[in-house]
């Protein structure tokens, strides 16, 4: 009887700690919520390391408004200073105020962001839940720099259409707190070509969030891009008018 009581108590506690997840789409959304708030200001540094040890550091400020878009501006290096990107759903524009051409150039969101391992879409539109269908795979334990052996849910997300940059994404989500820890990106051919590790968890914009995101290329061995979140704030009063081409080119 005592054993049964202990088992029931343990089951109750573990259910409280690791709430049962049955809907992978819901899990993906919760994991995304752990990465960024709905509306935010973010200053990040993006460091790309090449196999020869060369490093390139780009500092970017981002304003993101849910269901509206992302506006990014490069602060460093001086050569790229002032370049702005506007991403809205599947459209992306770039405006370089130093260029003799005073129009915004339309780009494809699938392309590389500033020559890094990240795509334009990774930086400008961090939500995947709208474009991918998800299934849960068997749970696993992941060796993670912050959480050591972390019990994880594994989500397999498959592209709903051809327009998204990745054919498939596999995401490891820590059961405690539903924190995303690792993502593997697959090309449409089915081959894995990038691995993202989310670490440096600390309290930012009201909750525990990753402050160090490492994207490793599997195509170009030893090429790594690291995003370090320098400052993140919730901003709920960003005007829509900032996310327009007219505002971008001003």
């Amino acid at each position: 009887m005592k054993k049964i009581m202990v088992f029931l108590l343990f089951s109750l506690v573990s259910t409280q700690i690791f709430p049962e997840i049955t809907d992978p789409q819901d899990l993906l959304k919760k994991a995304e919520e752990a990465m960024y708030p709905e509306n935010f200001f973010l200053r990040l540094s993006l460091t790309t390391e090449k196999p020869d040890g060369e490093k390139k550091v780009t500092v970017i400020e981002t304003l993101h408004k849910k269901d509206t878009g992302s506006l990014m501006e490069i602060l460093k290096p001086s050569r790229s200073k002032g370049i702005k990107f506007l991403q809205k759903d599947k459209t992306l524009w770039m405006y370089n105020p130093k260029s003799s051409l005073k129009k915004a150039i339309r780009l494809s969101p699938k392309g590389s962001f500033e020559g890094s391992v990240f795509s334009n879409n990774d930086i400008g539109d961090p939500d995947y839940s709208d474009d991918y269908t998800t299934v849960l795979e068997p749970e696993t334990v992941l060796d993670h720099p912050d959480f050591k052996d972390a019990p994880c849910y594994v989500i397999k997300a498959t592209a709903k259409n051809e327009e998204v940059p990745y054919g498939e994404i596999r995401m490891w989500v820590r059961k405690e707190g539903l924190l995303p820890l690792k993502m593997v990106y697959y090309a449409k051919s089915g081959l894995p070509f990038k691995v993202m590790t989310l670490a440096g968890y600390k309290k930012m914009a009201g909750r525990l969030r990753p402050s160090l995101i490492t994207m490793t290329s599997l195509e170009n061995k030893d090429t790594v891009s690291i995003v370090e979140m320098e400052k993140m704030e919730v901003r709920n009063s960003i005007p829509d008018s900032l996310f327009t081409e007219t505002a971008l080119t001003r």
Partner: protein, 410 residues
């Protein structure tokens, strides 16, 4: 005394702005450039025939060019100024205030802007329906002095959502010292609307000034599996140009002129495709764009290519002094671009602007090294091929120019 007072007020206002600003951003660059020029027929300055270089086949130029852009942000307000100065080898100094405006967002969705500003409408590289509001973009950066200039006026932009923009513009267009008795006819008016529908970006606009401009236009851009398609078109219904008779090469005294009637339509249309391949550490760009300009250009054109309508309007033939080579209406152009950038190392670009009608072209090749932190080292070659006897690219002073320079970014 008046100038000193104005300067003092401006100086004081600038400091107030700096003190109040929550955020101040400065971007700019300093360019040092040396250029070798060669002309087959000798240097000629259309604007100044007494230029001492006239007749020389080879000559050198050099320049320091400083460009700065200042942005002060205060809650719902922005103050922006773009200023440039250049000094040539003769220590001649030129300066340009390209833009200087005050922007205010009184409520969410409404943006008011007053001052010297640009409205960058349209999707193409060669042509925009809004060229009658702004000075035209300069794809080849031929005229470094006027390239970023805006118009002076007021704009109101309404955004009920981030996907729909409605802008109304009042372009004062004229120097206030020369306004006619009818105040309102001196202004140029424009409205513009754009709508983003998924991957389709649509816009339409309308520009009007009494007896000067009547130009509706529209266009779109669309992302087709990573290939960007674009199109812009406009109809000019108030092209009151005095076109010369079709007597090619005739002296001015033998040419008769006819002013185009109001309502006669002149079409301009461009369409292009662009593809940028970008991966880890590189980007490759390809662009092809076609332009048809029915209004054409004039042989005595002194403004940039492709915007001759702006030049010809208001030019009374009686006062024209240069040789006349009429019948340049209905021009077809093609611009092609191929470029490669290895991130943080170098970029290599090739542009060619072809006049399809007379098989002449302007080509440019550039190589930029980016291995030094914050400094670009570049070399650029620009050359023309004439095709037939007289082409608009003759308006460039040289058939071949070789540039070498350095740009310090800050």
């Amino acid at each position: 005394m008046k100038k000193i007072a104005c300067t003092a007020v401006l100086f004081f206002a600038l400091h107030i702005v700096i003190l109040l600003a929550q955020e101040y951003r400065l971007i700019g660059d300093l360019t040092f450039e040396n250029t070798f020029h060669w002309s087959e027929t000798g240097y000629k300055n259309i604007l100044d025939p007494s230029d001492p270089l006239t007749g020389f086949n080879n000559w050198l130029t050099s320049a320091f060019i400083l460009s700065t852009q200042h942005r002060f942000t205060m809650d719902k307000t922005e103050v922006f100024a773009h200023y440039g100065v250049s000094v040539n080898k003769n220590a001649e100094f030129t300066q340009n205030l390209y833009q200087a405006y005050f922007l205010f967002r009184p409520v969410d969705g409404l943006t008011l802007c007053a001052g010297k500003q640009r409205l960058n409408w349209g999707t193409g590289y060669l042509f925009s329906p809004s060229d009658k509001i702004n000075p035209t973009d300069d794809f080849f950066d031929i005229s470094q002095t006027g390239r970023h200039g805006g118009f002076t006026g007021i704009t109101a932009t309404y955004n009920p959502s981030a996907d729909f923009t409605l802008t109304a513009c009042l372009n004062t267009n004229q120097d206030f010292n020369h306004l006619t008795s009818n105040f309102w006819t001196d202004f140029r008016y424009a409205v513009y609307a754009s709508l983003l529908l998924g991957e389709l970006d649509l816009f339409t606009g309308f520009i009007y000034q009494q007896d000067e401009v009547l130009r509706p236009g529209f266009g779109f851009s669309f992302d087709l599996a990573g290939i960007i398609l674009n199109m812009d078109a406009s109809i000019e219904l108030s092209n009151r140009i005095y076109y010369p008779d079709k007597a090619v090469g005739a002296p001015i005294s033998a040419v008769t002129w006819t002013q185009q009637p109001a309502g006669q339509p002149y079409f301009s249309v461009e369409g292009g495709i662009e593809k940028i391949f970008s991966g880890e550490g590189f980007a490759i760009q390809f662009l092809v764009e076609y332009l048809y300009n029915s209004a054409g250009y004039g042989a005595n054109q002194t403004s940039l290519f492709l915007q001759s309508v702006d030049y010809l309007v208001n030019n009374d033939p009686v006062t024209l002094q240069s040789l006349i080579f009429p019948d340049f209406t209905g021009q077809h152009y093609l611009v092609c671009t191929a470029g490669l950038e290895i991130t943080g190392v170098l970029s290599f670009g090739n542009n060619i602007l072809i006049n399809i009608i007379n098989a002449s072209f302007l080509a440019e090749h550039s190589l930029t090294l980016m291995i030094l932190e914050g400094i670009d080292l570049y070399a650029r070659v620009r050359w023309t091929y004439k095709g037939q006897a007289h082409v608009e690219f003759d308006f460039l002073p040289a058939n071949l120019s070789v540039y070498a320079g350095a740009v310090l970014h800050f």
